[in-house]
Protein backbone atom coordinates (compact mmCIF):
# COMPACT_ATOMS: atom_id res chain seq x y z
CA UNK A 1 0.00 0.00 0.00
CA UNK A 2 2.89 2.31 0.82
CA UNK A 3 4.27 1.70 -2.63
CA UNK A 4 1.06 2.77 -4.31
CA UNK A 5 0.85 6.01 -2.42
CA UNK A 6 4.46 6.74 -3.16
CA UNK A 7 4.06 6.37 -6.91
CA UNK A 8 1.03 8.57 -6.65
CA UNK A 9 3.01 11.28 -5.00
CA UNK A 10 5.81 10.85 -7.50
CA UNK A 11 3.42 11.35 -10.37
CA UNK A 12 2.28 14.57 -8.83
CA UNK A 13 5.89 15.76 -8.85
CA UNK A 14 6.69 14.30 -12.29
CA UNK A 15 5.39 17.04 -14.60
CA UNK A 16 8.30 19.17 -13.52
CA UNK A 17 10.38 16.66 -15.45
CA UNK A 18 13.52 16.93 -13.36
CA UNK A 19 13.60 13.70 -11.39
CA UNK A 20 15.70 10.86 -12.78
CA UNK A 21 14.73 7.22 -12.17
CA UNK A 22 17.45 6.74 -9.60
CA UNK A 23 16.33 9.75 -7.67
CA UNK A 24 12.78 8.45 -7.67
CA UNK A 25 13.82 5.09 -6.27
CA UNK A 26 15.88 6.65 -3.50
CA UNK A 27 12.98 8.94 -2.73
CA UNK A 28 10.53 6.02 -2.64
CA UNK A 29 12.58 3.98 -0.20
CA UNK A 30 13.02 7.05 1.99
CA UNK A 31 9.26 7.53 2.08
CA UNK A 32 8.73 3.85 2.83
CA UNK A 33 11.01 4.17 5.84
CA UNK A 34 9.42 7.39 6.96
CA UNK A 35 6.01 5.69 6.95
CA UNK A 36 7.29 2.80 8.99
CA UNK A 37 8.73 4.99 11.73
CA UNK A 38 5.44 6.69 12.74
CA UNK A 39 3.86 3.25 13.14
CA UNK A 40 6.66 2.15 15.46
CA UNK A 41 6.46 5.31 17.57
CA UNK A 42 2.69 5.01 17.83
CA UNK A 43 3.00 1.35 18.80
CA UNK A 44 5.44 2.29 21.57
CA UNK A 45 2.96 4.85 22.90
CA UNK A 46 0.09 2.35 22.77
CA UNK A 47 2.18 -0.15 24.73
CA UNK A 48 2.84 2.58 27.30
CA UNK A 49 -0.93 3.21 27.56
CA UNK A 50 -1.82 -0.47 27.83
CA UNK A 51 0.89 -1.75 30.18
CA UNK A 52 -0.55 -0.45 33.48
CA UNK A 53 -4.03 -1.58 32.41
CA UNK A 54 -2.68 -4.99 31.45
CA UNK A 55 -1.03 -5.30 34.82
CA UNK A 56 -4.31 -4.52 36.56
CA UNK A 57 -6.05 -7.14 34.44
CA UNK A 58 -3.31 -9.64 35.20
CA UNK A 59 -3.66 -9.10 38.96
CA UNK A 60 -7.43 -9.38 38.82
CA UNK A 61 -7.17 -13.00 37.60
CA UNK A 62 -4.77 -14.08 40.32
CA UNK A 63 -5.28 -15.13 43.91
CA UNK A 64 -3.71 -12.98 46.59
CA UNK A 65 -1.21 -15.68 47.50
CA UNK A 66 -0.07 -15.83 43.88
CA UNK A 67 0.17 -12.04 43.62
CA UNK A 68 2.32 -11.77 46.72
CA UNK A 69 4.11 -15.10 46.44
CA UNK A 70 5.50 -15.12 42.93
CA UNK A 71 6.15 -12.56 40.25
CA UNK A 72 4.67 -13.64 36.94
CA UNK A 73 3.88 -11.79 33.75
CA UNK A 74 0.58 -13.62 33.30
CA UNK A 75 -1.74 -15.51 35.69
CA UNK A 76 -0.35 -18.98 36.40
CA UNK A 77 -3.50 -20.29 38.08
CA UNK A 78 -6.22 -18.41 36.25
CA UNK A 79 -9.09 -17.60 38.63
CA UNK A 80 -12.25 -15.53 38.47
CA UNK A 81 -12.81 -15.74 42.23
CA UNK A 82 -12.14 -12.01 42.65
CA UNK A 83 -14.90 -11.13 40.20
CA UNK A 84 -17.30 -13.66 41.68
CA UNK A 85 -16.69 -12.12 45.09
CA UNK A 86 -17.79 -8.73 43.76
CA UNK A 87 -20.80 -10.00 41.81
CA UNK A 88 -22.19 -11.98 44.72
CA UNK A 89 -21.81 -9.31 47.38
CA UNK A 90 -24.52 -6.66 47.15
CA UNK A 91 -22.50 -4.13 49.12
CA UNK A 92 -19.92 -4.35 46.30
CA UNK A 93 -22.03 -4.35 43.18
CA UNK A 94 -24.39 -1.71 44.55
CA UNK A 95 -21.42 0.64 44.37
CA UNK A 96 -21.49 0.31 40.58
CA UNK A 97 -25.25 0.78 40.49
CA UNK A 98 -24.92 3.91 42.64
CA UNK A 99 -22.14 5.39 40.51
CA UNK A 100 -23.92 4.71 37.22
CA UNK A 101 -27.15 6.03 38.74
CA UNK A 102 -25.84 9.46 39.67
CA UNK A 103 -23.78 9.74 36.49
CA UNK A 104 -26.86 9.13 34.31
CA UNK A 105 -28.94 11.57 36.38
CA UNK A 106 -26.24 14.18 36.04
CA UNK A 107 -25.96 13.67 32.25
CA UNK A 108 -29.72 14.04 31.89
CA UNK A 109 -29.98 17.17 34.04
CA UNK A 110 -26.91 18.82 32.56
CA UNK A 111 -27.76 18.28 28.90
CA UNK A 112 -31.39 19.33 29.28
CA UNK A 113 -30.60 22.69 30.87
CA UNK A 114 -27.42 23.25 28.86
CA UNK A 115 -29.06 22.89 25.42
CA UNK A 116 -31.37 25.92 25.66
CA UNK A 117 -28.75 27.96 27.50
CA UNK A 118 -26.07 27.22 24.89
CA UNK A 119 -28.57 28.18 22.17
CA UNK A 120 -29.16 31.50 23.90
CA UNK A 121 -25.43 32.20 24.12
CA UNK A 122 -24.76 31.24 20.51
CA UNK A 123 -27.67 33.18 18.93
CA UNK A 124 -28.55 36.18 21.09
CA UNK A 125 -27.00 39.13 22.81
CA UNK A 126 -28.66 40.02 26.08
CA UNK A 127 -27.94 42.08 29.19
CA UNK A 128 -24.98 40.58 31.00
CA UNK A 129 -24.38 37.74 28.55
CA UNK A 130 -20.59 38.02 28.52
CA UNK A 131 -20.36 38.30 32.29
CA UNK A 132 -22.67 35.35 32.73
CA UNK A 133 -20.60 33.23 30.36
CA UNK A 134 -17.39 34.16 32.12
CA UNK A 135 -18.93 33.39 35.50
CA UNK A 136 -19.98 29.97 34.19
CA UNK A 137 -16.45 29.21 33.08
CA UNK A 138 -15.08 30.21 36.48
CA UNK A 139 -17.12 27.37 37.97
CA UNK A 140 -15.10 25.01 35.83
CA UNK A 141 -12.01 26.31 37.57
CA UNK A 142 -13.30 25.92 41.12
CA UNK A 143 -11.36 23.14 42.84
CA UNK A 144 -13.84 20.58 44.26
CA UNK A 145 -11.80 20.57 47.47
CA UNK A 146 -12.95 24.18 48.05
CA UNK A 147 -16.59 23.12 48.16
CA UNK A 148 -16.30 20.04 50.33
CA UNK A 149 -17.49 21.50 53.58
CA UNK A 150 -20.15 23.91 52.29
CA UNK A 151 -21.61 21.12 50.12
CA UNK A 152 -21.81 18.78 53.04
CA UNK A 153 -23.65 21.41 55.09
CA UNK A 154 -25.89 22.55 52.23
CA UNK A 155 -27.06 19.10 51.21
CA UNK A 156 -27.40 18.00 54.80
CA UNK A 157 -29.62 20.97 55.62
CA UNK A 158 -31.94 20.42 52.63
CA UNK A 159 -32.19 16.71 53.45
CA UNK A 160 -30.52 15.41 50.32
CA UNK A 161 -27.44 13.99 52.01
CA UNK A 162 -26.63 10.42 50.97
CA UNK A 163 -28.90 10.41 47.91
CA UNK A 164 -27.98 9.96 44.26
CA UNK A 165 -29.54 13.24 43.28
CA UNK A 166 -27.24 15.12 45.68
CA UNK A 167 -24.14 13.88 43.85
CA UNK A 168 -25.79 14.48 40.47
CA UNK A 169 -26.57 18.08 41.46
CA UNK A 170 -23.11 18.64 42.91
CA UNK A 171 -21.48 17.48 39.67
CA UNK A 172 -23.61 20.03 37.81
CA UNK A 173 -21.21 22.61 39.23
CA UNK A 174 -18.60 21.77 36.59
CA UNK A 175 -20.62 19.72 34.10
CA UNK A 176 -23.23 22.34 33.13
CA UNK A 177 -20.63 25.02 32.34
CA UNK A 178 -18.60 22.47 30.39
CA UNK A 179 -21.64 21.32 28.43
CA UNK A 180 -22.59 24.91 27.58
CA UNK A 181 -19.05 25.70 26.52
CA UNK A 182 -18.86 22.70 24.19
CA UNK A 183 -22.39 23.01 22.80
CA UNK A 184 -22.00 26.73 22.18
CA UNK A 185 -19.10 25.98 19.82
CA UNK A 186 -21.12 23.45 17.85
CA UNK A 187 -24.21 25.66 17.68
CA UNK A 188 -22.24 28.66 16.46
CA UNK A 189 -20.94 26.61 13.55
CA UNK A 190 -24.53 26.05 12.32
CA UNK A 191 -25.43 28.93 9.99
CA UNK A 192 -28.09 31.25 11.28
CA UNK A 193 -30.00 31.01 8.00
CA UNK A 194 -31.17 27.58 9.13
CA UNK A 195 -33.09 29.12 12.03
CA UNK A 196 -34.54 31.89 9.90
CA UNK A 197 -35.70 29.54 7.15
CA UNK A 198 -37.43 27.33 9.69
CA UNK A 199 -39.28 30.28 11.25
CA UNK A 200 -40.40 31.44 7.80
CA UNK A 201 -41.68 27.90 7.18
CA UNK A 202 -43.88 28.35 10.24
CA UNK A 203 -41.99 26.33 12.82
CA UNK A 204 -42.45 27.43 16.41
CA UNK A 205 -39.26 27.73 18.49
CA UNK A 206 -39.68 24.49 20.51
CA UNK A 207 -40.61 22.48 17.42
CA UNK A 208 -37.72 23.91 15.41
CA UNK A 209 -35.32 23.24 18.26
CA UNK A 210 -36.31 19.61 18.70
CA UNK A 211 -37.07 18.65 15.10
CA UNK A 212 -34.40 20.53 13.16
CA UNK A 213 -31.72 22.01 15.36
CA UNK A 214 -30.93 19.13 17.69
CA UNK A 215 -30.52 16.60 14.83
CA UNK A 216 -28.12 19.05 13.17
CA UNK A 217 -25.76 19.10 16.13
CA UNK A 218 -26.03 15.36 16.87
CA UNK A 219 -22.32 14.74 16.96
CA UNK A 220 -21.89 17.78 19.20
CA UNK A 221 -24.41 16.36 21.65
CA UNK A 222 -22.68 12.98 21.47
CA UNK A 223 -19.32 14.48 22.34
CA UNK A 224 -20.89 16.61 25.09
CA UNK A 225 -22.50 13.53 26.65
CA UNK A 226 -19.14 11.81 26.45
CA UNK A 227 -17.50 14.62 28.42
CA UNK A 228 -20.36 14.73 30.93
CA UNK A 229 -20.06 11.01 31.51
CA UNK A 230 -16.32 11.25 31.78
CA UNK A 231 -16.12 14.02 34.36
CA UNK A 232 -18.96 12.71 36.49
CA UNK A 233 -17.76 9.10 36.39
CA UNK A 234 -14.17 9.90 37.33
CA UNK A 235 -14.88 12.41 40.13
CA UNK A 236 -14.70 11.00 43.61
CA UNK A 237 -13.97 13.77 46.09
CA UNK A 238 -17.46 15.33 46.04
CA UNK A 239 -19.26 12.02 45.52
CA UNK A 240 -17.52 10.61 48.56
CA UNK A 241 -18.26 13.61 50.74
CA UNK A 242 -21.97 13.70 49.91
CA UNK A 243 -22.72 10.03 50.53
CA UNK A 244 -22.54 7.66 53.47
CA UNK A 245 -24.10 4.26 52.79
CA UNK A 246 -27.11 4.38 50.44
CA UNK A 247 -25.52 6.13 47.50
CA UNK A 248 -21.87 5.34 48.05
CA UNK A 249 -19.83 5.37 44.81
CA UNK A 250 -17.75 2.36 43.82
CA UNK A 251 -14.55 4.35 44.21
CA UNK A 252 -15.28 4.69 47.91
CA UNK A 253 -16.21 1.05 48.39
CA UNK A 254 -12.89 0.08 46.84
CA UNK A 255 -11.08 1.58 49.81
CA UNK A 256 -12.50 -1.31 51.84
CA UNK A 257 -9.95 -3.65 50.26
CA UNK A 258 -7.30 -2.06 52.42
CA UNK A 259 -7.61 -3.45 55.92
CA UNK A 260 -5.40 -3.87 58.96
CA UNK A 261 -4.28 -7.28 57.74
CA UNK A 262 -3.03 -5.86 54.43
CA UNK A 263 -4.52 -5.02 51.06
CA UNK A 264 -6.76 -7.43 49.18
CA UNK A 265 -4.94 -6.85 45.87
CA UNK A 266 -6.97 -9.32 43.82
CA UNK A 267 -10.34 -7.76 44.68
CA UNK A 268 -8.94 -4.24 44.30
CA UNK A 269 -7.69 -5.10 40.80
CA UNK A 270 -10.95 -6.80 39.79
CA UNK A 271 -12.98 -3.83 41.05
CA UNK A 272 -10.65 -1.51 39.14
CA UNK A 273 -11.13 -3.47 35.92
CA UNK A 274 -14.89 -3.26 36.34
CA UNK A 275 -14.72 0.55 36.64
CA UNK A 276 -13.03 0.69 33.23
CA UNK A 277 -15.77 -1.26 31.43
CA UNK A 278 -18.50 1.44 31.38
CA UNK A 279 -15.95 3.79 29.82
CA UNK A 280 -15.23 1.30 27.03
CA UNK A 281 -18.96 1.03 26.29
CA UNK A 282 -19.28 4.82 26.10
CA UNK A 283 -16.24 5.23 23.83
CA UNK A 284 -17.56 2.51 21.56
CA UNK A 285 -20.80 4.43 21.08
CA UNK A 286 -19.18 7.76 20.28
CA UNK A 287 -16.15 6.43 18.35
CA UNK A 288 -17.43 7.78 15.05
CA UNK A 289 -18.10 11.22 16.49
CA UNK A 290 -14.83 11.57 18.36
CA UNK A 291 -12.74 12.19 15.26
CA UNK A 292 -14.69 15.28 14.26
CA UNK A 293 -16.47 16.13 17.47
CA UNK A 294 -13.51 16.65 19.74
CA UNK A 295 -12.67 19.87 17.91
CA UNK A 296 -15.81 21.08 19.71
CA UNK A 297 -16.99 23.02 16.68
CA UNK A 298 -14.06 25.39 16.94
CA UNK A 299 -11.81 24.91 13.94
Amino acid sequence: MNQRIDTHVEQAGAPQGQSSGQFQRAEASKRGRSRLRPRTLLAIYLVFIMLPIYWLLNMSFQTNSEILGSFSLWPQNFTTANYMGIFTDSSWYMGYVNSIGYVLMNMLISISVALPAAYAFSRFRFIGDKHLFFWLLTNLMAPPAVFLLPYFQLYYSVGLFDTHIAVALAHCLFNIPLAIWILEGFMSSVPKEVDETAYIDGYSFPRFFVKIFIPMIRSGIGVTLFFLFMFSWVELLLARTLTATNAQPIGMIMTRTSTASGIDWGTLAAAGVLTILPGIVVVYFVRNHIAKGFALGRT
Binding site: L140, L169, S188, A295, T299
Partner: protein, 295 residues
Protein backbone atom coordinates in the same frame (compact mmCIF):
# COMPACT_ATOMS: atom_id res chain seq x y z
CA UNK B 1 -19.43 33.12 13.87
CA UNK B 2 -22.98 34.26 13.44
CA UNK B 3 -24.20 37.80 13.99
CA UNK B 4 -26.17 37.79 17.19
CA UNK B 5 -29.53 39.46 17.65
CA UNK B 6 -30.16 41.61 20.69
CA UNK B 7 -33.04 40.02 22.57
CA UNK B 8 -33.46 39.94 26.31
CA UNK B 9 -35.98 37.11 26.14
CA UNK B 10 -32.93 34.87 25.74
CA UNK B 11 -32.72 35.09 29.51
CA UNK B 12 -35.68 32.71 29.64
CA UNK B 13 -33.53 30.05 27.97
CA UNK B 14 -30.74 30.61 30.44
CA UNK B 15 -32.81 30.66 33.63
CA UNK B 16 -33.13 26.90 34.35
CA UNK B 17 -29.40 26.50 34.00
CA UNK B 18 -28.79 29.56 36.15
CA UNK B 19 -31.00 28.25 38.95
CA UNK B 20 -29.15 24.93 39.07
CA UNK B 21 -25.63 26.31 38.85
CA UNK B 22 -26.43 29.02 41.37
CA UNK B 23 -27.61 26.38 43.81
CA UNK B 24 -24.38 24.42 43.34
CA UNK B 25 -22.04 27.38 43.12
CA UNK B 26 -23.23 30.61 44.70
CA UNK B 27 -24.65 29.30 47.98
CA UNK B 28 -21.57 27.18 48.80
CA UNK B 29 -19.20 29.94 47.70
CA UNK B 30 -20.98 32.42 49.96
CA UNK B 31 -20.62 29.96 52.83
CA UNK B 32 -16.89 29.86 52.15
CA UNK B 33 -16.67 33.65 52.06
CA UNK B 34 -18.65 33.77 55.29
CA UNK B 35 -16.27 31.39 57.07
CA UNK B 36 -13.19 33.10 55.74
CA UNK B 37 -13.83 36.28 57.73
CA UNK B 38 -15.04 34.69 60.95
CA UNK B 39 -13.75 32.58 63.79
CA UNK B 40 -16.36 29.90 64.40
CA UNK B 41 -16.38 28.19 67.80
CA UNK B 42 -19.81 26.57 67.69
CA UNK B 43 -23.24 27.25 66.23
CA UNK B 44 -23.77 30.38 68.33
CA UNK B 45 -20.33 31.75 69.08
CA UNK B 46 -18.44 33.38 66.28
CA UNK B 47 -16.23 36.45 65.89
CA UNK B 48 -15.52 38.67 62.95
CA UNK B 49 -11.83 38.44 62.14
CA UNK B 50 -11.48 40.50 58.97
CA UNK B 51 -8.49 39.54 56.90
CA UNK B 52 -6.60 37.73 59.66
CA UNK B 53 -7.13 34.26 58.13
CA UNK B 54 -5.98 35.50 54.74
CA UNK B 55 -2.80 36.96 56.21
CA UNK B 56 -2.10 33.77 58.09
CA UNK B 57 -2.65 31.59 55.03
CA UNK B 58 -0.45 33.72 52.81
CA UNK B 59 2.36 33.59 55.38
CA UNK B 60 2.11 29.87 56.04
CA UNK B 61 5.40 28.32 54.94
CA UNK B 62 3.86 24.88 54.38
CA UNK B 63 1.19 26.25 52.06
CA UNK B 64 3.70 28.39 50.18
CA UNK B 65 5.77 25.27 49.55
CA UNK B 66 2.67 23.41 48.39
CA UNK B 67 1.85 26.25 46.02
CA UNK B 68 5.35 26.18 44.51
CA UNK B 69 5.16 22.40 44.11
CA UNK B 70 1.78 22.82 42.48
CA UNK B 71 3.07 25.31 39.92
CA UNK B 72 6.13 23.17 39.24
CA UNK B 73 3.91 20.14 38.71
CA UNK B 74 1.40 21.90 36.46
CA UNK B 75 4.08 23.38 34.23
CA UNK B 76 6.02 20.13 34.05
CA UNK B 77 3.02 18.10 32.93
CA UNK B 78 1.91 20.78 30.46
CA UNK B 79 5.40 21.01 28.98
CA UNK B 80 5.40 17.24 28.40
CA UNK B 81 1.78 16.66 27.48
CA UNK B 82 1.24 19.40 24.90
CA UNK B 83 4.14 18.50 22.55
CA UNK B 84 3.61 14.78 23.13
CA UNK B 85 -0.13 15.08 22.46
CA UNK B 86 0.47 16.97 19.20
CA UNK B 87 3.03 14.35 18.19
CA UNK B 88 0.67 11.45 18.88
CA UNK B 89 -2.13 13.18 16.96
CA UNK B 90 0.17 13.51 13.92
CA UNK B 91 1.06 9.82 14.12
CA UNK B 92 -2.48 8.48 14.42
CA UNK B 93 -3.88 6.66 11.36
CA UNK B 94 -6.47 8.71 9.52
CA UNK B 95 -9.11 6.16 8.51
CA UNK B 96 -10.14 2.54 8.62
CA UNK B 97 -10.47 0.12 11.50
CA UNK B 98 -6.99 1.01 12.71
CA UNK B 99 -8.11 4.59 13.32
CA UNK B 100 -11.08 3.44 15.41
CA UNK B 101 -8.99 0.95 17.37
CA UNK B 102 -6.29 3.52 18.18
CA UNK B 103 -8.95 6.07 19.17
CA UNK B 104 -10.61 3.67 21.59
CA UNK B 105 -7.32 2.54 23.14
CA UNK B 106 -6.05 6.08 23.56
CA UNK B 107 -9.30 7.30 25.13
CA UNK B 108 -9.27 4.57 27.80
CA UNK B 109 -7.18 6.33 30.47
CA UNK B 110 -9.51 9.34 30.38
CA UNK B 111 -12.48 7.25 31.48
CA UNK B 112 -10.96 5.58 34.50
CA UNK B 113 -12.03 7.05 37.87
CA UNK B 114 -9.21 9.13 39.30
CA UNK B 115 -8.73 7.09 42.42
CA UNK B 116 -8.58 3.93 40.30
CA UNK B 117 -5.85 5.60 38.24
CA UNK B 118 -4.00 5.98 41.53
CA UNK B 119 -4.61 2.31 42.36
CA UNK B 120 -3.49 1.15 38.90
CA UNK B 121 -0.21 2.98 39.26
CA UNK B 122 0.17 1.84 42.84
CA UNK B 123 -0.11 -1.76 41.69
CA UNK B 124 2.09 -1.07 38.66
CA UNK B 125 4.94 0.59 40.55
CA UNK B 126 5.12 -1.38 43.81
CA UNK B 127 8.54 -2.78 44.42
CA UNK B 128 7.24 -6.25 45.31
CA UNK B 129 4.37 -6.88 42.90
CA UNK B 130 4.45 -4.10 40.28
CA UNK B 131 5.71 -4.62 36.75
CA UNK B 132 7.51 -1.28 36.65
CA UNK B 133 8.75 -1.47 40.22
CA UNK B 134 10.16 -4.96 39.87
CA UNK B 135 11.44 -4.21 36.36
CA UNK B 136 13.43 -1.16 37.47
CA UNK B 137 14.88 -3.08 40.41
CA UNK B 138 15.92 -5.91 38.11
CA UNK B 139 17.71 -3.34 36.00
CA UNK B 140 19.64 -2.32 39.10
CA UNK B 141 17.89 0.96 39.94
CA UNK B 142 16.84 1.23 43.59
CA UNK B 143 13.38 2.46 42.74
CA UNK B 144 11.25 3.31 45.77
CA UNK B 145 8.42 5.83 45.75
CA UNK B 146 7.80 5.68 49.48
CA UNK B 147 11.38 6.66 50.33
CA UNK B 148 12.81 8.65 47.45
CA UNK B 149 11.11 12.00 46.67
CA UNK B 150 12.60 12.09 43.15
CA UNK B 151 11.11 8.68 42.34
CA UNK B 152 7.75 9.70 43.79
CA UNK B 153 7.73 12.95 41.85
CA UNK B 154 8.77 11.30 38.58
CA UNK B 155 6.15 8.58 39.01
CA UNK B 156 3.37 11.11 39.56
CA UNK B 157 4.42 13.08 36.49
CA UNK B 158 4.56 9.84 34.48
CA UNK B 159 1.13 8.87 35.77
CA UNK B 160 -0.32 12.23 34.79
CA UNK B 161 1.26 12.00 31.34
CA UNK B 162 -0.27 8.54 30.96
CA UNK B 163 -3.62 9.77 32.20
CA UNK B 164 -4.07 13.07 30.36
CA UNK B 165 -1.93 13.17 27.19
CA UNK B 166 -4.82 11.40 25.39
CA UNK B 167 -7.03 14.46 25.92
CA UNK B 168 -4.57 16.73 24.09
CA UNK B 169 -3.99 14.05 21.44
CA UNK B 170 -7.73 13.64 20.77
CA UNK B 171 -8.36 17.38 20.61
CA UNK B 172 -5.47 17.81 18.15
CA UNK B 173 -6.48 14.75 16.16
CA UNK B 174 -9.94 16.16 15.52
CA UNK B 175 -8.41 19.56 14.74
CA UNK B 176 -6.19 17.92 12.13
CA UNK B 177 -9.14 16.04 10.61
CA UNK B 178 -10.79 19.36 9.77
CA UNK B 179 -7.97 20.42 7.42
CA UNK B 180 -9.10 19.98 3.78
CA UNK B 181 -6.98 17.60 1.69
CA UNK B 182 -6.49 20.39 -0.87
CA UNK B 183 -4.17 22.21 1.54
CA UNK B 184 -1.83 19.23 1.63
CA UNK B 185 -1.96 18.87 -2.15
CA UNK B 186 -1.00 22.49 -2.55
CA UNK B 187 1.88 21.97 -0.14
CA UNK B 188 3.07 18.92 -2.12
CA UNK B 189 3.05 20.88 -5.34
CA UNK B 190 5.15 23.55 -3.62
CA UNK B 191 7.44 20.74 -2.39
CA UNK B 192 6.99 22.07 1.13
CA UNK B 193 9.02 20.33 3.83
CA UNK B 194 7.28 18.36 6.57
CA UNK B 195 8.18 21.10 9.02
CA UNK B 196 6.70 23.78 6.78
CA UNK B 197 3.47 21.78 6.45
CA UNK B 198 3.30 21.48 10.22
CA UNK B 199 4.22 25.10 10.92
CA UNK B 200 2.04 26.84 8.32
CA UNK B 201 -0.87 24.45 7.75
CA UNK B 202 -1.37 22.18 10.74
CA UNK B 203 -0.34 24.31 13.71
CA UNK B 204 -2.55 27.33 12.86
CA UNK B 205 -5.54 24.96 12.59
CA UNK B 206 -4.70 23.52 15.98
CA UNK B 207 -4.56 26.83 17.84
CA UNK B 208 -8.21 26.82 18.88
CA UNK B 209 -8.31 23.27 20.18
CA UNK B 210 -4.94 23.72 21.85
CA UNK B 211 -6.21 26.74 23.79
CA UNK B 212 -9.05 24.59 25.10
CA UNK B 213 -6.69 21.71 25.82
CA UNK B 214 -4.15 23.81 27.69
CA UNK B 215 -6.85 25.56 29.73
CA UNK B 216 -8.52 22.27 30.71
CA UNK B 217 -5.19 20.64 31.49
CA UNK B 218 -3.99 23.55 33.57
CA UNK B 219 -7.17 23.66 35.63
CA UNK B 220 -7.27 19.94 36.27
CA UNK B 221 -3.59 19.57 37.01
CA UNK B 222 -3.91 22.44 39.45
CA UNK B 223 -6.76 20.67 41.24
CA UNK B 224 -5.18 17.21 41.24
CA UNK B 225 -6.16 15.28 44.34
CA UNK B 226 -7.14 11.62 44.11
CA UNK B 227 -4.24 10.23 42.06
CA UNK B 228 -1.30 11.34 44.24
CA UNK B 229 -3.39 10.76 47.34
CA UNK B 230 -3.82 7.09 46.48
CA UNK B 231 -0.37 6.58 44.97
CA UNK B 232 1.91 8.31 47.46
CA UNK B 233 -0.41 9.82 50.06
CA UNK B 234 1.48 13.08 49.55
CA UNK B 235 4.77 11.60 50.70
CA UNK B 236 7.55 10.91 51.22
CA UNK B 237 7.41 13.72 53.77
CA UNK B 238 5.34 16.31 51.96
CA UNK B 239 7.22 16.18 48.67
CA UNK B 240 4.12 15.32 46.62
CA UNK B 241 1.47 17.11 48.71
CA UNK B 242 -0.33 19.44 46.34
CA UNK B 243 -2.79 22.22 47.13
CA UNK B 244 -6.02 20.20 47.07
CA UNK B 245 -4.62 17.70 49.49
CA UNK B 246 -3.39 20.40 51.88
CA UNK B 247 -6.82 21.94 51.72
CA UNK B 248 -8.68 18.68 52.33
CA UNK B 249 -6.46 17.90 55.31
CA UNK B 250 -7.08 21.36 56.72
CA UNK B 251 -10.85 21.45 56.17
CA UNK B 252 -11.83 17.86 56.91
CA UNK B 253 -8.95 16.54 58.99
CA UNK B 254 -8.34 19.49 61.28
CA UNK B 255 -11.72 21.24 60.96
CA UNK B 256 -10.03 24.65 60.72
CA UNK B 257 -12.99 26.37 59.10
CA UNK B 258 -11.70 29.93 58.97
CA UNK B 259 -8.19 29.36 57.62
CA UNK B 260 -9.29 26.66 55.19
CA UNK B 261 -12.01 28.94 53.80
CA UNK B 262 -9.48 31.73 53.31
CA UNK B 263 -7.14 29.22 51.68
CA UNK B 264 -9.99 28.06 49.39
CA UNK B 265 -10.64 31.57 48.13
CA UNK B 266 -6.97 32.27 47.48
CA UNK B 267 -6.65 28.92 45.68
CA UNK B 268 -9.66 29.66 43.50
CA UNK B 269 -8.41 33.16 42.68
CA UNK B 270 -5.00 31.87 41.58
CA UNK B 271 -6.59 29.48 39.06
CA UNK B 272 -8.89 32.23 37.81
CA UNK B 273 -6.02 34.65 37.41
CA UNK B 274 -3.76 32.24 35.51
CA UNK B 275 -6.58 31.16 33.16
CA UNK B 276 -7.58 34.75 32.52
CA UNK B 277 -4.02 35.89 31.76
CA UNK B 278 -3.44 32.91 29.45
CA UNK B 279 -6.74 33.39 27.62
CA UNK B 280 -6.30 37.14 27.17
CA UNK B 281 -2.73 36.70 25.97
CA UNK B 282 -3.77 34.14 23.33
CA UNK B 283 -6.72 36.23 22.16
CA UNK B 284 -4.53 39.33 21.82
CA UNK B 285 -1.95 37.35 19.89
CA UNK B 286 -4.60 36.18 17.46
CA UNK B 287 -6.00 39.68 17.10
CA UNK B 288 -2.53 41.06 16.35
CA UNK B 289 -2.02 38.41 13.72
CA UNK B 290 -5.38 39.16 12.11
CA UNK B 291 -4.55 42.88 12.03
CA UNK B 292 -1.19 42.25 10.41
CA UNK B 293 -3.08 40.47 7.66
CA UNK B 294 -1.66 36.98 8.18
CA UNK B 295 -3.74 34.15 9.52
Amino acid sequence: MVNKVYNNRAWLLVLPMLALVAFSAIIPLMTVVNYSVQDVFDANTRFFTGIEWFERTLNDAGLQAALLRQFAFSFTVLAIQVPLGIGIALLMPKRGWQASAVLILITLPLLIPWNVVGSIWQIFTRGDIGLMGVGLRELGYGYNITRNPVDAWATIVLMDVWHWTPLIALLCYSGLRSIPEAYYQAARIDRASKWAVFRYIQLPKLTNVLVIGVLLRFMHSFMIYAEPFVLTGGGPGSSTTFLSQSLATMAIGQQDLGPSAAFSLIYFLIILLVCWVFYTAIMNMQKDKAERGGV
